[in-house]
């Protein structure tokens, strides 16, 4: 009886649709203001660059993009009108639907408009002080003249990075396995591994580079004294980054549940075989993201190999920059580093996604 009455009461007074108009008005205002700001920023960029027609067309296109947030803002008003119509006719569910869609549109407009505002701010910053910032960091002619030089030198960075990364993968794993060796027999090796990690993780890589780069030559260490500076750089970075990566491996190996060890050992697989076929393959999948982090760190640290007298991209760009009193060549190096990093990040994302699909794990 009572519950029946309650249901009726609820049915008689369902929740009304939310209001849309205030949000829509705010969204429209924000979108308009942000578009204006973007227009002003682009205008001052145009005045500063006095660019050729092609670039001007690009600026116009950007201005049009800055207007895009107006589209959802206007649609929010359309939704509001339909909401009112449904509400007047007593159709509550459709009215609620339109209200939700209207607020979603308004929020979208504000989100995109704020993004436009941030970009406009950046553009405005580059044109500030009568474009002094831009002329210091970005000048077409220096960009063109230094690009080939810097790119040439950048191959040394790539060479060092790839060489060190390959070595780090192996050395890091060896150190990690040493650190995980069981029993009394494994103790000295465990200690060695710990000492190594503690030491080289603490020393700034620029110091390791310096010591390896000059020290091994100075001391006439056999074999090492005949190595090219590029190889010495690879060795120094391997020393530093193997200590990081060993810890990544160890965390990955220890994160595999002990029941996997039990299952594998109970099948008669030896310690080493279990590590190789059961534990490490599972650990590797988990450590790919942190590994990529360390690899990107390593890539960036190749910009330090200038201290051992190798002319890498950064050293080259500084040379050029001091010749022309302009930092554009250095910006070129920075952009090159970004360009090689992004594909790696996306590749790892794809790898993980594919892996997930293959093993059906969510």
């Amino acid at each position: 009886m009572t519950s029946g009455a309650q249901t009726e009461e609820v049915a008689a007074r369902p929740t009304p649709p939310q209001r849309v108009l205030p949000t829509a008005v705010v969204a429209l205002l924000v979108a308009v203001l942000c578009a204006l700001a973007a227009g002003l920023a682009l205008w001052s960029l145009h005045r500063m660059l006095e660019p050729p027609a092609g670039v001007d067309a690009l600026l116009v296109a950007l201005a049009l993009v800055a207007l895009l947030p107006l589209v959802p803002a206007v649609r929010a008003f359309g939704d509001d009108r339909r909401r009112a119509r449904h509400l007047a006719a007593g159709r509550l569910a459709p009215a609620r639907h339109e209200a939700a869609s209207g607020r979603e549109h308004a929020h979208t407009a504000m989100g995109y408009a704020l993004a436009v505002l941030v970009c406009a701010g950046l553009v405005w910053f580059t044109t500030a002080n009568d474009g002094a910032i831009t002329t210091t960091f970005l000048r077409w002619e220096f960009l063109r003249s230094s690009f080939a030089n810097v790119l040439d030198a950048f191959w040394i960075n790539v060479e060092v990075a790839v060489g060190a990364q390959l070595l780090v993968l192996v050395v890091g794993l060896v150190v990690a396995v040493m650190r995980l060796l069981p029993g009394r027999a494994g103790r000295p090796l465990r200690w060695l591994a710990i000492a190594y990690v503690d030491t080289f993780r603490a020393i700034p890589s620029i110091i390791t580079l310096y010591l390896v780069g000059f020290g091994l030559k100075l001391a006439q260490v056999p074999f090492f004294k005949d190595l090219s500076p590029v190889w010495l750089a690879i060795i120094a970075l391997t020393l530093t980054y193997s200590s990081y990566v060993a810890e990544v491996y160890r965390a990955g190996i220890e994160s595999i549940h002990p029941s996997q060890w039990a299952a594998s050992r109970s099948l008669g697989l030896s310690y080493g075989m279990t590590l190789r076929t059961v534990i490490v393959p599972q650990a590797v999948r988990r450590i790919v993201p942190p590994l990529l982090n360390d690899f990107i760190g390593l890539q960036k640290d190749t910009a330090l190999i200038g201290v051992m007298g190798v002319t890498d991209a950064f050293a080259q760009s500084r040379l050029t920059a001091s010749n022309v009193f302009n930092l554009t060549p250095v910006i070129v190096v920075a952009v090159l580093f970004v360009l090689i990093t992004i594909p790696q990040a996306r590749y790892v994302d794809r790898l993980l996604a594919k892996e997930q699909i293959r093993t059906g794990r969510s």
Partner: protein, 247 residues
């Protein structure tokens, strides 16, 4: 002939003595069920037999050979002793077929083709042949446990240790898995199993052992243990099990 001999085994974790002198003989083709309250040491005993845990004193013999203590080739022992776990413990990065063929190929030294042929035959027996290419995470608990049994069988063990293999399963999946164990028992496979499924223990066991606080308090045929228990503890335990509707 006694195939598995456990003599006065003591096992502690630190201060905590989990097994306090367990002795047990299992003859070939026998099926022995370990029952007892949670924490009584059933899993620990099975893990000790498989040398997954070292024991402090006592002796374990498989086929007449001492397999506890120093200097034992545990990998060879484990080829004779298969184990199935409560939580399946399949290798998630390998397909069902690779899970099953791993030990025969890597440890048994069989060719991949031969191992796969045998694996598929075994999978077929438990109704999992069409899932040979699937990964464990795409299988139900019951399916995973059936694969885990096949994985243990693929090494042709002389004795199979089963640790509450249905405890993690939904009730409607328990039957499938138990049916397989029942079939293995009929084929004459020697098995030692910890279980909470008393009805099943009564059906398949040739011997039931009641474990209490690290000791085998009472042992006998299912009829003796379930119909006419001598010890008070056994009676209390069975009464509790009965009350929870598992007998």
């Amino acid at each position: 002939m006694t195939f598995l001999e456990i003599h006065d085994v003591h096992k502690s974790y630190g201060e905590h003595e989990v097994l306090r002198g367990v002795s047990l003989e299992v003859a070939k083709h026998e099926v022995v069920c370990l029952i007892g309250a949670s924490g009584s040491g059933k899993s620990t005993l099975l893990r000790c037999i498989n040398a997954l845990e070292p024991i402090q004193s006592g002796e374990i013999r498989v086929a007449g050979d001492v397999v506890s203590g120093l200097g034992v080739d545990v990998n060879r022992l484990r080829r004779n002793v298969g184990m199935v776990f409560q939580s399946y413990n399949l290798f998630p990065h390998m397909s069902v077929l690779r899970n099953v063929t791993l030990a025969p190929v890597r440890v048994g030294g069989r060719s991949r083709a031969e191992a796969e042929e045998q694996a598929l035959a075994l999978l077929d027996r438990v109704g999992m042949k069409d899932k040979a290419g699937a990964y464990p995470d795409a299988l139900s608990g019951g399916q995973q446990q059936r694969v885990a049994i096949v994985r243990a069988l693929a090494s042709d063990p002389q004795v199979l240790l089963l640790d509450e293999i249905t405890a993690a399963l939904d009730p409607e999946l328990v039957g499938d898995v138990l049916a397989i164990v029942r079939e293995l028992a009929q084929d004459g496979l020697t098995m030692l199993l910890a279980t909470h499924e008393m009805g099943f223990a009564r059906d398949v066991a040739s011997q039931v052992c009641f474990l209490h606080e690290g000791r085998i308090l009472e042992r006998g045929t299912p009829a003796q243990i379930f119909e006419d228990p001598q010890e008070d503890r056994t009676r209390q335990f069975l009464a509790r099990v009965l009350a929870s509707g598992r007998l």
